[in-house]
Structure formats: C-alpha cells, structure tokens
C-alpha cells in the first residue's frame, strides 16, 4: 500500500490542536537572560554617541551592547549577509532605517530589559533619507551604503531576439507601470531566538526556515570552524519567507557572548514588522502584439525595493528576472531586473516570492490587450501560452509545462463562458483569471541520511523545517515508499545542525522535490548497503539479494531475514544510507548577470487563480465571491495538504490584493501592528473557495512543490475581475475601496452606460 497519495495525518496532530506541540517560543534555558533592542527612530542618521548609564541603573540590567562595542571587538566580524555581508548585528556608525537595532539591553527579566531600552540615550545626526526605490535609483539620491553609491543591490539582464525591432514593427504596443507596495509576512510566531555560549561553543535555538544558513553565518561571524555552532529549531509558527536566511540570530549571539550567559530574545509584533518585509516593486511593462493577438515582443523593467540591507536581494532580483517573461512564448524579449537600497525595512522573499509583483503586471496588461483587441482573455492566453519545446528568453528549451490544463481547469472552475450572477443595484460583478510561472531556487543543496537501527526502525535525518506545510509527513511518506515499508517505521526529530545534514533552506517550494530526491537517493543507498551486508552474510552475490517489504531475501537459497534480523545476525549497530540532491547549474553559476543564458531552475512552478468579484460602486469595496486556485503538482503526496496549500495561497493572497500595505511617513513605518495593518480574517474568505492540483498521471512524474503556486495569480485575477465588472483598470495594489472609488470616478461605468 503506497503512502504517497494518502492524507497521512501529522504524527503530532493531537498536540497541534491541543496546543502542546513545541515551538522555539516555548524553549527556556537555565540561567538565561533576556534581550531587548534599542531601535533607531530615524530612517537615516549618523550615531554620534550612545549613553547607557540610565539604562544600566535599572535593577536587573546586566549590560548594554552597542554597535561601537562590536566594531571594537577584534574577535567578532559584526557584518553578516549572503551573498553580500552588509548588515551589522547592531548599527555601526549610522542607522539606515527607522527601527534598526542600534543597541541591545540584556537583563535578568524581559520586563527589566524592556524598561531599560528607552533609557539608552542615542545622539543622532539626521541624514537625508529615501523610501522609494525609483527615487533611490536616481543620481543624487541619498546613499544608503557608501560602498554602493548608486544604491544598487542587484542587477540582472536578459535579451532574447530583437525586441527593439519587434516593438517598432508590432501592430500595437501597450505600455503600463504596475506597482506593488511592501507588505509584512506576519508569521503568527514572532522571531524568537536563544543563544548560549556557556557550553564551550555556541548553541542556538531559533524559529528559522534555514538552520544551516544561520549556522554558517554565525560561524563566519565568530570565526568558528564549520560545525562549531549548533542551531536547532522546532515547529515554526509560520514563515512565508520572513524566517529565511539570517534575522535576529547574530544580535542574540553577540548579546549572549557579551553576557556570558544564555540570552533569549522574542520580538514584539512591531519589531517583527521592523525586521523583514516584502519587496515593493515597480514594473514597467511594454508588450507588442499583432492584430491577431500574437505577442511578438516584451520589454520589462522591474525595480525591487531592497530596503536598507541586502539579505538575499542581490540574487532574489535575479530570480525576478527569470520569472518576468511570464508563461508565454515571446520571441523578442528584453528584461532588466534590479534591486535598490532604500532607508526602509530590509526586504526578503515573501510567499510567491518576487513573482507576485510581476504577475500582477503581466496578467493585468494581458486583459487590457484582450479588451483592446476585442478578444476573450482566455483565448488570448491560449494563443500565446508557453508550451513544451518552445524557447524561453534564457535560451532554455521548455518541457514539463502544463498551462493548457491549468487554463482549462480555471475555465471550468469559474464557469468562464457563463455570465456572472446578476449584481444587485449599485454593484457590479465580473470574473477574472490569471496564471503565473516561477522557478525554484537553483542551485541548492539538500542532504539526507537514513539510519536503520537494531529495533528495525529507520531514522530519517533531514534539516527540512516543519512550517505547517506538512513537510514532515510528506518526507515520511516519500521515504516509506522508496524503502518499501510503512511510514510508521520511520522516526524523525527536529532539525539540529549537529545531527541533521545540510539543507539550504525550507523555502522556494523546494523541499518536496529537493529533499524528496535526496531521500530517494538515501533510500537507494540504504538498500544497496543492506543488499551487500546480506550477500556477505550468506556468501552469495549481492545482485541476487532482494530488498523488499522490510526484508532481505535470497530466492536461490531461500534465505530471508527482516532488516533488524540481519542487523542482529551480523552484529551490525546500524546501517546508514545517504543521499544528496545538488544540481550543478542555476542562476548564480551563470557567467554574466547582464546576459543571463542557461538553465536557471530544476523545473518550473506553474499555477493560476480565478476570481469572481462584486464591486460596490458607491463605496469602492471589492468583495471576492468565488475563488479557485490551482497548480501543477506532478504527483500529489497528500490531497489534503495540497488543497490546504492552494487554499492558503488564495486566502493569503487576498491580503496584499485587497488591503495589505506598509505605510511610511517621513521615512518611518506607521502601521507596524495588527490593528493598523490587517491580514485576512475568516470573514474575508470567499463564500466559495475551491482548488485543483493537476497530476501527470504518470508514476515517474517529477514532484513539484505547491506552496505558493496560485498566490502570484490571485491579485491579477481579482484585478481582472474588477476590470471585467467595471471597465476600470487599477495598476497599483492593494485594491482598497478608496483607490477603487477614485478609479471608478475617473472612469465611471454608470456614466458611460447612460452617456
């Protein structure tokens, strides 16, 4: 009975529902002290001096650490960040965004640390600041980092065919500028970390999506040899990209080192807002078409707002480049993708990473083109779809594409051919669809280890993080099938860099494929070793030994032993199988970032969404009545979990579509709390919400990740439905009532009808 295809319940389902499943938030370490950051109130300011006397006088305060202290410490490299180490654990010399930690108070209690933090007096000299990435990219803009005087934080280009000539000779040319603001990931569990040097090395607990990335960063920071830092995580209460790479761990590790005691830091919600955000982006999009709807050329320029520190922006902007073409065959393309430093919260990938901003642009524009040509938007998409055998702007000949099926599914789900339900007076209804294409992080590395132990169970060592996406049961199910045993015989703990092997990150919807493949190889390795052990034991050729059903057998002699029996008979402690998935190609291995050529992904992520909306013409409020989310999955490991990922994309995606936006005033984030910044509640869920995961119908089909496939399509599907309902195009997210009402006023459908 194969495990794949069944909804294996999470082993800790009851504890999840009762509330006893462990998070790092619950971890307490003997003797630990508590840290609270002192944050810059200014978006850009030189730090003249820091006076700590008053803070140190608060009972229970142990120390105050400043950027100057770190700068003066020859044993610490305070800067971290990969690929560009530009971020100090505490601001050194100047603060680059409002909310940046400039000092940290360590105290016996969290209350004492919180009471003392406002008493740290920092003398600042304000500097000119810049919030908007387009302004920051202009000559003469305030410089965020002296080392990058043009504020450049990533620059990529690709050129395919002759876009200039093709645009010049196209029948029609459409140009639009589309803007997506910054947003907050809002994982319900805040960033929380405990660092402890008292055992000799550095031990860290952190709610992170990438424990090995944290380990590597801290090892570099403190010049510790590989393996000298141990990072553990537990269940993580949501990440969505916010807990990728390295976040508060360097600060907590520095504080613990100074204190000589374990130090815990749990961010308050406003601090979570101030730690990481989505890339705001402006997409300039020009598309040339023939009168029959054939797209002949596309020019894209996207500027991602990196915020004050690089995090992954130098590479993430390249991921954006590879996705900007969209899922269409276009013979002449020029794409430029940049990330630009500003004095705002550092940006990092946000579920649907780098792609949502692009899909909002190219899918919105496509419906405008369809309207102008008098074509059905679905037919216009079908006419231009990217299909197997066609060439992508990177030069890759595409395969394993399934957009025809995805569009067919959207068409059925939303009853595309049928008119929307009649709207009540004062309201208008419409339907919209959108699709998206996304690569997955490549190159990356996933290692897995399987250990058969004497009691017959198999330990699965993997650093993939359980974020609630169900990676734990998914990896168990896959491994069980590869080994030919029940998943009940598998044992797996939490990621622990001292014991679970290297994995780049749990993000980019990569784990099911990347870690799944590593485990497939580890299972093959384990079976090969069992075969060899049995062959040696029985004195028969290894190729004659069969490994199945938890047994080794030699049909020729009739010998047959359960695995644990083989271990007992041979006095073997354990048998270990290892597997690695590490593609040797990808974006960061290409020669020239300004002439991107070659394979940039192990496979292409594909998804779509369809929406039916009702627009209140008096108030501008958009209500999503019906939403369908789909993706190509290759093979579905768990129907329930895939459905939850698709529905999760639909619900999560409605936030940045309809109301989520970080607001800055005078360079300061003004809504860093869940009262002024709202995320979708259960009342925002459309009355009808459906989903589909398309399978290849072939047992050898590649598994595709499904965590964020529909999400980038949600905003353009809703915007297109709004356009269908009202004839009004809005090129800026979110689609707030104010914005919709203003746009309706500029283009009043009622007036047009009567006029």
């Amino acid at each position: 009975m194969p495990e794949v295809g069944s909804d294996r319940r999470m082993h800790d389902a009851e504890e999840r529902v009762v509330g006893t499943v462990p998070f790092v938030l619950d971890v307490r370490v003997d003797g630990m002290a508590h840290a609270k950051a002192v944050r810059s109130p200014f978006p850009h300011a030189r730090i003249r001096s820091v006076r700590t006397d008053d803070a140190l006088a608060v009972p229970g305060v142990l120390l105050v650490l400043t950027g100057a202290d770190l700068d003066a410490d020859p044993e610490v490299n305070p800067y971290y960040g990969s690929p560009r180490p530009d971020q100090p654990a505490l601001a050194i010399g100047k603060a680059r965004y409002a909310g940046e930690p400039v000092a940290v108070v360590v105290a016996e209690t969290a209350a004492a640390a919180a009471a003392a933090a406002p008493l740290v007096e920092v003398d600042y000299e304000e500097l000119p600041h810049v919030v908007d990435a387009n302004e920051a990219a202009r000559p003469g803009a305030p410089v965020v980092h002296d080392a990058w005087p043009d504020n450049g934080c990533g620059s990529w280009r690709v050129r395919h065919g002759d876009p200039d000539a093709a645009l010049a000779s196209a029948d029609r040319v459409y140009t639009g500028v589309y803007h997506s603001p910054s947003a907050s990931h809002v994982p319900m569990e805040p960033m929380v970390c405990i660092a402890d040097w008292t055992g000799g090395g550095l031990e860290v607990w952190s709610a992170t999506q990438a424990p090995h990335a944290v380990r590597e960063a801290l090892e570099k920071m403190f010049a510790v040899p590989p393996g000298g830092v141990r990072v553990r995580t537990l269940n993580v209460g949501g990440g969505y990209g916010a807990k990728t790479q390295v976040k508060i761990e360097p600060l907590v590790a520095c504080a613990a080192r100074a204190a000589g005691r374990p130090v815990r830091m749990e961010l308050a919600r406003d601090e979570v807002f101030l730690t990481a955000a989505k890339h705001a982006a402006t997409v300039e999009l020009t598309t040339g078409v023939r009168d029959d709807g054939t797209i002949v050329a596309r020019r894209v320029k996207v500027n991602y707002n990196a915020g004050a520190y690089a995090l992954s922006s130098p590479i993430a902007s390249g991921q954006g480049l590879t996705r900007a073409n969209g899922p269409y065959t276009i013979p002449n393309v020029a794409i430029e993708s940049v990330a630009t430093y500003t004095n705002t919260v550092p940006s990092c990938p946000f579920r649907g990473a780098m792609t949502s901003q692009l899909a909002f642009a190219y899918e919105s524009q496509l419906d405008d083109i369809a309207a102008d040509l008098g074509m059905d938007p679905l037919e216009l998409r079908r006419k231009n779809l990217l299909r197997d055998g066609e060439v992508y702007p990177t030069g890759e000949v595409m395969h394993d594409l399934h957009y025809d099926e995805l569009l067919d599914d959207l068409e059925r789900a939303i009853d595309w051919g049928g008119p929307p339900e009649p709207a009540p007076p004062g309201k208008a209804r419409g339907k919209g669809i959108a699709i998206m294409l996304k690569n997955t992080l490549t190159p990356t590395r996933s290692e897995a280890r399987l250990r058969l132990v004497p009691d017959g169970r198999v330990h699965l060592d993997s650093s993939t993080v359980e974020l609630g996406q169900g990676s734990h049961p998914t990896l168990l199910q896959l491994t069980a099938d590869h080994l030919g045993i029940s998943a009940d015989r598998l044992v797996r703990g939490f990621p622990d860099t001292a014991h679970t092997p290297y994995d780049t990150t749990t993000s980019s919807s990569r784990s099911t494929h990347a870690m799944g493949t590593a485990l497939e190889r580890a299972a093959a390795d384990l079976k090969r070793r069992l075969r060899a052990l049995a062959a040696d034991h029985w004195g028969v050729p290894a190729e004659e030994v069969e490994v199945a059903d938890g047994h080794v057998a030699h049909p020729g002699t009739g010998e047959r032993l359960p695995w644990e029996g083989l271990l007992a008979a041979t006095g073997t402690g354990e048998v270990v199988g290892e597997g690695v998935f590490a593609p040797d190609f990808g974006l960061t291995l290409l020669e020239d970032p300004h002439d991107v050529r070659g394979r940039v992904t192990v496979h292409w992520h594909q998804g779509g969404a369809a929406a039916e909306v009702e627009v209140d013409l008096e108030t501008g409020r958009v209500e999503v009545l019906r939403m369908h989310a789909n993706c190509y999955a290759g093979r579905v490991v768990s129907p329930l979990r895939v459905r939850q990922q698709n529905q999760g994309c639909a619900v999560f995606g409605l936030g940045p579509t309809l109301f989520e936006e970080l607001h800055y005033q005078d360079g300061t984030l003004t809504n860093p709390n869940l009262s002024d910044y709202m995320i979708p509640s259960i009342l925002d869920v459309p009355a009808v919400i459906t989903s589909s995961a398309l399978e290849a119908g072939d047992e050898s089909a590649e598994l595709h990740g499904v965590g964020e496939m529909a999400l980038p399509a949600v905003a353009p599907a809703v915007a297109n439905a709004l356009f269908a309902a009202t004839g009004t195009r809005i090129d800026r997210l979110p689609l707030t009532p104010e914005r919709v009402l203003r746009a309706l006023g500029e283009h009043d459908p009622v007036k047009e009808e009567t006029g």
Partner: protein, 177 residues
C-alpha cells in the same frame, strides 16, 4: 507607534501580589508581578503553552483563553484580574479521560491545522461559540465568532469544514484535491 500593551506598562513593575485562579479545573495560587499579563503568567509560571503571544494588543486571538467561559485575549488582561476566575486553555479542553473534546476531535479529523500556532485558540473560540446560548448553532454564527482569530497559513476553509461537522451541516464546498 508601539505594539506593546500600554495597560501592562501603566502599573509599576516589581510589586507583587498573590492570586488564586482556577486553571483548567485546578486551583492554582501563584505570586505574580502586578504588571504581568495573564498570558505571561500562564506561559512563564503555570506551564501553559497553548496560549501564545503574537500581536500583543488583543486583536489576533492567538492568546485566547476562556475566562468564566468567555473568549478573552490573555495578552491584554492583567493576571491580577484573573483572581478567583475560571480560566480554560486548550490543554483544559481535554476530557477528564484524557480524550480530546468534540471540537478538538473535529479539528484533528479534518486536519484543520497547518503551522498550528493559532489553532488551540481557534478551538477555544469554536468551543465557546457552541456553548453560547445566544449564538446560533450553525456555520455562519461560528464563523462570525472566529472573526477575531487570525490564521496566516489560510487554514480557514478547513476549519470551517470542522465547524460544519460539529454543527451537522454540509460544508459549503469541500474543494477538490
């Protein structure tokens, strides 16, 4: 702008008092900081993990507990105010036999959880909704009750399936795989 609960800062920290509360059916007496929130005392002194801090201002629902049966945000209630009150957390919903409550069972059976950080609070709110004689015993009423419990994973549709099971209604749309 700050997300710190102002109410907690208003009371000078350091002075202590003793409170007695009935936590999940047990009488517990504990010495608390006057400024401590109920959430802090539950987590730091009473071994509760199901109530969790997420927004700090009583709007996300992750810290939900039942105080005398009523849905309450424990992050904005002072522990001192819980004196002599009946406090129920996710741990306390289990039946005396150790089995899951009907609401907990419905969530487990439907797989109504993802990262699960918000789920125990959702369970408590559904429990309270179904106990409320003034609330309708239907999916729509429970959905209204859940308006103050945020889930960022977007598990709401599965949660509504569990609710539908509990009130004996057909789910609006189970959704295809």
């Amino acid at each position: 702008m700050t997300a710190e609960p102002e109410v907690a800062d208003a009371v000078p920290s350091g002075s202590t008092r003793t409170v007695t509360l009935r936590l999940n059916g047990e009488t517990r007496t504990v010495e608390i900081d006057q400024a401590a929130t109920l959430l802090q005392v539950l987590r730091d002194q009473l071994g509760i993990t199901s109530a969790r801090s997420a927004c700090g201002i009583g709007v996300c629902g992750a810290c939900t507990v039942l105080v005398d049966g009523k849905v309450t945000s424990s992050c904005i209630m002072l522990a001192a105010q819980a004196h002599d009150r009946e406090i129920t957390t996710g741990e306390g919903l289990r039946l005396p036999s150790g089995e899951l409550s009907a609401v907990q069972r419905a969530f487990v059976d439907r797989g109504a959880y993802q990262c699960s950080f918000c789920i125990p609070a959702m369970v408590l709110t559904v429990h309270a909704a179904l106990q409320d004689p003034e609330a309708g015993r239907d999916v729509e009423s429970v959905r209204e009750y859940l308006a103050g419990n945020l889930c960022r994973c977007g598990t709401y549709p599965t949660i509504l399936e569990a609710v539908a099971d509990l009130v004996g209604a057909e789910p609006a749309d189970g959704g295809a795989a």
